[in-house]
């Protein structure tokens, strides 16, 4: 009796041990891409699984689905399945899990700085895209897709921080033009402010990934990392603290609205302040242009958009949002099909339509001359400012630790705008030391 039980136990343990051994062997970078198709399909078809960052039911999700349908009609040998993953952070987490389990999709949209994390499993796209297509991408937006000389990502839904302003408020206060420098930004904010009525000239949110902070820092002449992407330099010459002090002073004199005094989501808070006429200006993604235009018009205001101000008239701004990567572990057929779909998406028609729909930047040069985009610019000429700014795109940090680092930076930044008397030099020194420690402990 006991003997039988022992046999059973040994059997279970052996089975479990074999399972554990099977799944704890040597890890292959990126695992095995492309799960076998779950449904029966034509065996001549190559199936691509594409993880989109937007949910399927959003307008941007629907656009990609329609583009895939159009592609499949012209390319019946390819079947594209698109799955929305619910945001950049969620996408990164799922790719991480998929890498561990060896169930990566064929291609995915990632936030551009996440390439620092995922480039080891990303394919060199120059092998699958014609050189003419690559050369047609906007250079400022394509730059963040390169790791060394290999093109690991291409731009899709891309944006840059721009200055949104309430033109109706500007007109009422006698302000003729949006500010071009930060000093003009402060003066404009003073002209627009009326603290007794709860009106601030400007509102500022650093963003959850410090994107706005990063972009303003570039316009201030600063850098996050050195050229090697290994040394933290944002606190080397004191200009970061000086920049933060500038906004703290504005908050102190009640010309700047800080969302960090409020519990709600900072973006929603400052957007609401601007859209409801309680703040005159805010930095935000040009990807929100279409939505903000509609909201402002509904509220009876006219929206203006201008390039991000600079310190001394020399513009420089961060790029942002989504690039597309194709996973190295996918089969040659799937990678080739993914390359064909990328080429299809880079056609003027789709690039321009996507810009009109969303407000994201036109990612190719030739799309700038398309009828669709010209018509949009004649209707909304202020969008030209966002396009002009692409020329001044600044490189982004390329390290797998960026997510960990910006979490630390944002904590300090939020504290500085929550309490205008917080010591900015000390906050930035602490943040820089912590970031360097993160990089040293987990080198790329």
């Amino acid at each position: 009796m006991k003997k039988s039980f022992v046999f059973l136990i040994v059997g279970v343990i052996l089975a479990l041990s074999l399972t554990v051994w099977r799944f704890s062997g040597k890890i292959e970078p990126g695992g095995q891409a492309d799960p076998p198709p779950e449904t029966r399909q034509d065996s001549r078809q190559t199936e691509i699984l594409f993880w989109n960052v937007f949910a399927d039911e959003t307008s941007t999700g629907a656009f990609l689905a329609k583009a895939a349908d159009d592609f499949m009609k012209k390319n019946p040998d390819v079947k594209i399945t698109i799955n929305g993953q619910g945001g950049y952070d969620a996408m990164a987490e799922r790719l991480e899990a998929a890498s561990a389990s060896g169930r990566l999709p064929t291609m995915a949209i990632i936030e551009e700085t996440f390439l620092g994390r995922f480039h080891p499993i990303a394919e060199d796209l120059s092998r699958y895209l014609p050189s003419g297509v690559i050369a047609n991408y906007q250079p400022g937006l394509l730059a963040s897709g390169y790791v060394g000389s290999a093109l690991r990502a291409v731009p899709f839904n891309r944006s840059m921080p721009v200055l949104f302003y309430n033109k109706t408020m500007f007109d009422a206060s006698g302000v003729e033009a949006p500010p071009a420098t930060w000093e003009e930004f402060r003066e404009t904010a003073r002209a627009l402010s009326d603290p007794e009525r709860g009106i601030r000239g400007a509102a500022l949110c650093w963003d959850t990934d410090a994107w706005i902070f990063e972009s303003i820092l570039y316009s201030w002449g600063g850098e996050i990392l050195d050229e090697t992407n290994r040394k933290v330099v944002f606190n080397e010459d004191g200009r970061t603290a000086e920049m933060i002090r500038f906004f703290q002073e504005m908050k102190d004199e009640q010309t700047l609205f800080s969302p960090y005094d409020h519990q709600e989501d900072p973006w929603i808070t400052i957007s609401t302040e601007v859209l409801e006429g309680r703040a005159g200006m805010m930095m935000g993604s040009n990807g929100m242009f279409s939505l903000y235009s509609q909201w402002m018009a509904d509220a009876g205001y006219e929206l203006g958009i201008a390039m991000q101000p600079s310190l001394d008239g020399t513009p420089s701004a961060a790029t942002g949002a989504g690039n597309i990567i194709v996973f190295r572990g996918a089969s040659e057929e799937r990678k080739a099909a993914a390359g064909r779909f990328l080429e299809f998406l880079a056609q003027d028609e789709y690039v321009a339509e996507y810009t009109v729909l969303s407000g994201y930047l036109p990612v190719t040069k030739s799309a700038m001359n398309s009828e669709i985009l010209r018509a949009m610019l004649s209707e909304k000429p202020m969008y030209q400012a966002a396009i002009d700014q692409m020329e001044f795109a600044h490189r982004r940090p390329l390290t797998k630790n960026w997510k960990n680092m910006y979490s630390v930076i944002v904590e300090e930044l939020e504290a500085c705008l929550s309490d205008a008397r917080a010591d900015a030099p000390e906050a930035m020194r602490d943040a820089a030391l912590a970031c360097q420690k993160i990089m040293d402990e987990n080198p790329d």
């Binding site: 039980f5 343990i13 479990l16 554990v20 704890s24 890498s99 519990q263 960990n404 300090e412």
Partner: protein
């Protein structure tokens, strides 16, 4: 030499049937499914966690190498980890110290079979079955510095408003309040059940001895319900150490890690910062600490608990 169990004439089939029947009726067989599940989903993952805590694991870069105690050295010299560990211990002590005495008080108040008491018991138990997300959302409204009812209440007493979740000096306290509120209902239900098992003749004897109400509570009630404290303290300690949802939905560990707890740190380190080895080292530290606290709790409480 041991004699063969099969006698002459017995077929092999009969023998197997007998053995099979005995195996099926065995208590070991009955616990086998639970044992296998426990092994698969608890023991094996825990063993893998211990293994990975001594390794540098990066699924994306394809790195999996033995690094000895480097992950442990790294977390024990990490100020953030030490702060999070301290936060977790404070959170655990405060939630246990708040929720259990309050649960006893509530239970004593409700320990009579009246309609209103039964209704109140149900109401008090409700937070236990409400999801953490709903609880977090509700309390975030109440703790809003501008519109929240808590600051309004403070104002009625002439007290200054607090920034609750947004201030590093009050964020952990805010989580302690919410966690305690959520567990009081469950804890009080357990204590009520224990109170109702106390033989009435003990109270009668105390009355004959002219014991004061306070004396009766400390000399009769408390010793008689003491065994449930072992259970309540153990479950509360485990609950406090495994708190994740409240941190994730209410503060995300901020401001400046002031409300970050161990499980949230493990999640963040492993899944957001992609440092699986460090996260596993933190998980092992948590597991060992929890085991030590539970063992201590059993040792101390069992000595003092009064079992009938």
């Amino acid at each position: 030499m041991k004699q063969c169990a099969c006698s002459e004439g017995d077929s092999v089939r009969n023998y197997l049937r007998r053995v099979g029947s005995a195996v099926l009726r065995s208590p070991y067989t009955l616990i086998l499914p639970a044992f296998a599940l426990c092994l698969t989903f608890s023991v094996v993952p825990a063993a893998l966690s211990i293994r990975d805590s001594f390794r540098s694991v990066d699924y994306v870069a394809g790195i999996d190498k033995f690094v000895g105690a480097a992950n442990y050295a790294s977390i024990f010299t990490d100020e953030v980890f030490l702060e999070v560990f301290k936060n977790t211990v404070v959170f655990m002590f405060c939630t246990v110290a708040l929720s259990i005495p309050l649960a006893v008080a509530v239970a004593l108040f409700l320990n009579e079979d009246r309609f209103m008491n039964n209704l109140t018991q149900s109401v008090i138990f409700t937070p236990h079955i409400v999801s953490f997300v709903a609880v977090a959302t509700l309390w975030m409204f109440m703790m809003d510095p501008r519109y929240g009812i808590l600051n309004h209440a403070l104002g009625l007493f002439g007290l200054p408003p607090l920034r609750w979740l947004m201030d590093s000096s009050t964020s952990l306290l805010s989580l302690i309040i919410v966690a305690s509120w959520k567990t009081i209902g469950f804890n009080s239900l357990i204590v009520i059940a224990a109170l109702q098992k106390i033989p009435p003749e003990l109270y009668e004897a105390a009355r004959l001895d002219r014991s004061s109400p306070l004396g009766t509570f400390f000399r009769v009630t408390l010793p008689m319900i003491s065994p449930v404290f072992v259970f309540l303290v153990t479950t509360s300690v485990i609950g406090a150490f495994s708190t994740f949802d409240l941190v994730k939905f209410m503060t995300e560990g901020g401001p400046r890690n002031s409300s970050s707890l161990m499980v949230y740190w493990i999640y963040r380190t492993g899944f957001l910062h992609f440092q699986i080895g460090r996260a596993m080292a933190g998980a092992v530290v948590l597991m060992l600490f929890l085991a030590a606290v539970s063992a201590l709790n059993f040792a101390l409480m069992n000595k003092r608990a009064h079992y009938q």
